[in-house]
Symmetry: C2
Subunit: 187 residues, 2 copies
């Protein structure tokens, strides 16, 4: 394949993979994936050694946009910026196609921390915790690392429950985070 | 099949299903399930209309033991009894075979609130929230329903993250719950 065709085939495959895995789960087959992407299995295997690698690469490709979507710009106090992440989560969770955090879902479904896609997912979640930690420190939290882990816990619980349609967040995540920020001394 | 054989075949099938679905996910095939249970596919389909029904029944069968394992006896203050649920969760999550809450995992994997197994899982989680609500009310929480929803959020975030091996709870869930109990006025 010429380089540009190769790039567009790859992009098409990874975009379709991200969408299908998110909507239907990681057990989706190679047939369905290639059919949706409009890519032959031969082309897929020229680009990736296995479906597992496609899944990992599709999460990797999705991560920057996901992080941009969640992370507020640099205006506001650390407390406001932390709360804004959860306001954005609450807003995103009202979309009909919302199925929770794609990175947590992949890990829950794969049940294998060594899977290449779990490794990508874990690193992505780790950056969220690190962003929380930096803001917690800026905000004068008594224990920034503890607060960051608590915020990630709430983030994952909220996204999983909203994604599974057993909870409608509607202020629940922000109320929970407000209590934790107060307890941690982030004014 | 005579009635007793039928009962033992059913129990064997549901026990194997609960274990396999928990360990490997809901996409496990009928072949693997019947092989592990030592039950013929014919017997399985005499007892259940579909794999989906087996999955739902296996969660239903698992629920009472799960609830007994989490729910403390009636001694202690409401605050102590709520904290004990999370102490038990933290302890359970250190087991090597721990993969998170089986009911939340099933919902995350199935991505379909109408699936018979999602319906069972959702009802089971609903009973946990209701137990929290009753204890929150007994403990004089300002808003028992809000506190119960927050506690369930923390429970699900903690179990999902520990199950995915991206978090080692080690006091994290109980510290988070302590802050929320304080904020809700449960002394």
């Amino acid at each position: 394949m010429p380089t540009t065709d190769r790039a567009s085939t790859k992009d098409r495959l990874l975009d379709a993979a991200a969408e299908l895995f998110y909507r239907d789960g990681v057990s989706i087959g190679v047939e369905a994936l290639c059919r949706t992407a409009g890519v032959s299995k031969r082309s897929m295997y020229q680009l990736f050694a296995s479906k597992d690698e496609v899944l990992a690469a599709s999460l990797e490709r999705r991560a920057p946009a996901y992080e941009r979507q969640l992370t507020p710009d640099d205006t506001g106090t650390p407390r406001e910026r932390i709360l804004e992440v959860f306001e954005r989560l609450e807003k995103a969770s009202t979309q009909p196609e919302y199925r929770g955090c794609p990175f947590l879902s992949a890990m829950v479904e794969l049940k294998d921390p060594e899977h290449p896609a779990s490794v990508v997912a874990s690193a992505t979640k780790g950056r969220l915790t690190e962003a929380f930690r930096a803001l917690a420190e800026l905000g004068g939290a008594r224990d920034p690392q503890l607060l960051a882990r608590q915020l990630t816990l709430v983030f994952d619980g909220a996204s999983a429950r909203a994604g599974a349609r057993v909870e409608t967040l509607d202020g629940l995540a922000t109320a929970t985070v407000t209590a934790l920020l107060d307890a941690a001394g982030v004014a």
